[in-house]
Amino acid sequence: MPMRKVMKGNEAAAWAAKLAKPKVVAAFPITPSTLVPEKISEFVADGEMDAEFIKVESEHSAISACVGASAAGVRTFTATASQGLALMHEVLFIAAGMRLPIVMAIGNRALSAPINIWNDWQDTISERDTGWMQFYAENNQEALDLILIAFKVAEDERVLLPAMVGFDAFILTHTVEPVEIPDQEVVDEFLGEYVPKHAYLDPARPITQGALGFPAHYMEARYTVWEAMENARKVIKEVFDEFEKKFGRRYHMIEEYKTDDAEIILLTMGSLAGTLKEFVDKKREEGVKIGAAKMTVYRPFPIEEIRALAKKAKVLAILEKDISFGIGGAVFADTSRALINEKEKPIVLDFILGLGGRDVTFENLEEIVEISKKALEGEKVEEVNWIGLRKEIL
């Protein structure tokens, strides 16, 4: 029987790692995900987890050791956040290019400067072009579930790409919530043993991995990563179906909440989705036709789902905790790409909020609705809006 335990998001991630039975875990402590390697080392110390845990001297070496282990043909896991993820940056491309299905848990945290340990998504958003799949969890249960799902998708032979699962710093990493821990046997059945056909360092059948690609081959190699990411759309949906059958919880590329007759739809990711649902309920009581949507999968970007969502709305308001300087939020830019050639499309507005752990309040959400309403009425509004900014201290 599945067991219910009250735990922090970090513990949920460690439990997911335990259930997935990776053979190698390499990690370096970083706030706010420090508890993930700590908990894993406890599992290993108590003999509850049969993995080699490499206590590396940096995140760069953590991901490098993961690439080495994965290239040697074993299931591999790591966890990090923020500056740690940034330090891994160059190797993230390599893991994807070598098609190694490493899974990484990220306690989504802001990047320096100024140094800040609190939540936003700038760390993972900055890695969106590395070839890693990206999942974002709304709560601790999702953190656990999505890590299992990430392994299953990553190891699928149609995909073979690494995956990161983000869960918001402190809001989830350090907050206790009841989490259902699935039975080990069911997880074993779901994931199966990882037996790679493309990556192994076996003296009986030596192969060369990580070769040099001349101009004659480089583009094709990169194309296969593109193709794999495209394949991942289908595979993720299949895995969501299978996950529901096995564990009873349903996931969607984009989960919708009261969107069917909504004029304004607020789209976001991660833990903010929980706040949004409550806010939508409140506004519905006031008779305002708004809905919410949560993007669970950011890479591959859910283009079709965005189009379907956009069809329902007159204003699509994107709420995001990241910024791509010089254009706006990354989700806004990506959403615009998904809609650019659509005949009918809503007004798409971007709202940058909650950076570096700034609380997102109902007042903030009211402001977003007010701006969206103005746009709906034909008034000209800014496309990119910073919400909750303390202009008085600028």
Partner: protein, 315 residues
């Protein structure tokens, strides 16, 4: 006294057809190192193939693994420039879990080891991974041209340490990574030169045989970088030993009080002058107009020997 030549296995892991320059010193390193490894693995595990290689970015990586070809007849992986030791840590951990017997060989040049890869190397050694780290030292960044590294010797010309009106060339003493590695108190550290291939072979075998990490720093002349003719590679590497410029030693468990030396003259007097070594190489040509720089180089080498516990005379 004639040197007893140990037998060298005929097994090949470094196949012909790689793209290294004619006379390439590091290419000889690859060939000998893998042969020695194979013999050690055969003796230790009964399987000459019981090893895998994790390679840093560098000349030997780019010349050996141009897709769709490979010069490697052993399982081989390249990740990036600074992380061969970290990648090797991961491979070793995976092998442990898979119950695969054998040892991992990590290979990097001086740039990937002495500079950008030093942290990953230190981490790997400190964690006691069962990995041999082989640093092939051609004393500059030869893969990107000929830029100085912290392993470039004093006085050498490189494109980023050019001699000029205000410069004698590289103006810092060479960083000896073998001593840094030994400070980790790991089972085995050695320096070698392809100028004494049998010594190098023996040391690689020993490195591969010990349980736990080992580090070997081997001098491997670079034909274009050192400005030498291809047929002079071995002669130059030999002269480095014979002039006292390149100490050959072994340090076990970080015991600096019991360093074992090879090819050390009993009286501490090296017979051939360092000038013999310098004269063969274009990278030192300018020093002959600056005798004080040659003297400074000699002083640095004497100081190195003194740190190693030997008073030497350099003619």
């Amino acid at each position: 006294m004639a040197v007893r030549k140990p037998p060298i296995t005929t097994r090949e892991y470094w196949a012909p057809g790689h793209a290294a320059c004619a006379g390439c010193g590091p290419a000889i390193v690859m060939k000998l190192a893998t042969k020695a490894f194979s013999e050690a693995m055969e003796e230790k595990y009964g399987d000459p193939n019981a090893f895998a290689i994790a390679h840093a970015t560098g000349c030997m990586e780019v010349v050996s693994a141009v897709f769709p070809y490979t010069a490697w007849k052993a399982p081989w992986v390249h990740v990036a420039f600074e992380n061969a030791a970290a990648a090797a840590s991961g491979v070793e951990a995976a092998w442990k879990k898979l119950g695969r017997k054998g040892k991992i060989l990590a290979i990097g040049g001086d740039g990937g080891t002495a500079d950008i890869g030093l942290q990953a190397l230190s981490g790997m050694l400190e964690r006691r991974h069962n990995v041999v780290y082989l640093m092939y030292d051609n004393e500059a960044y030869m893969n990107t041209g000929i830029q100085r590294s912290s392993s470039t010797p004093y006085g050498a010309w490189t494109t980023t340490s050019p001699p000029g009106k205000y410069s004698i060339g590289e103006d810092k003493p060479k960083k000896w990574v073998a001593l840094i590695a030994a400070a980790h108190q790991i089972p085995y550290v050695a320096t070698a030169s392809i100028g004494d291939p049998y010594d190098f072979y023996r040391k690689m075998k020993k490195a591969a045989s010990v349980d736990g990490p080992a580090f070997v720093q081997v001098l491997a002349p670079c034909v274009p970088g050192w400005r030498i003719p291809p047929e002079k590679t071995i002669e130059v590497a030999k002269l480095a030993i014979e002039t006292g410029l390149w100490p050959l030693f072994e340090i076990e468990n970080g015991d600096f009080h019991n360093i074992k030396f090879q090819r050390f003259p009993k009286d501490g007097k090296f017979k051939k002058p360092i000038e013999d070594y310098l004269r063969l190489q274009g990278r030192f040509k300018h020093l002959f107009k600056r005798p004080e720089a040659i003297q400074e180089l000699k002083n640095q080498i004497k100081e190195l020997w003194r740190i190693l516990g030997k008073e030497v005379e350099l003619p």
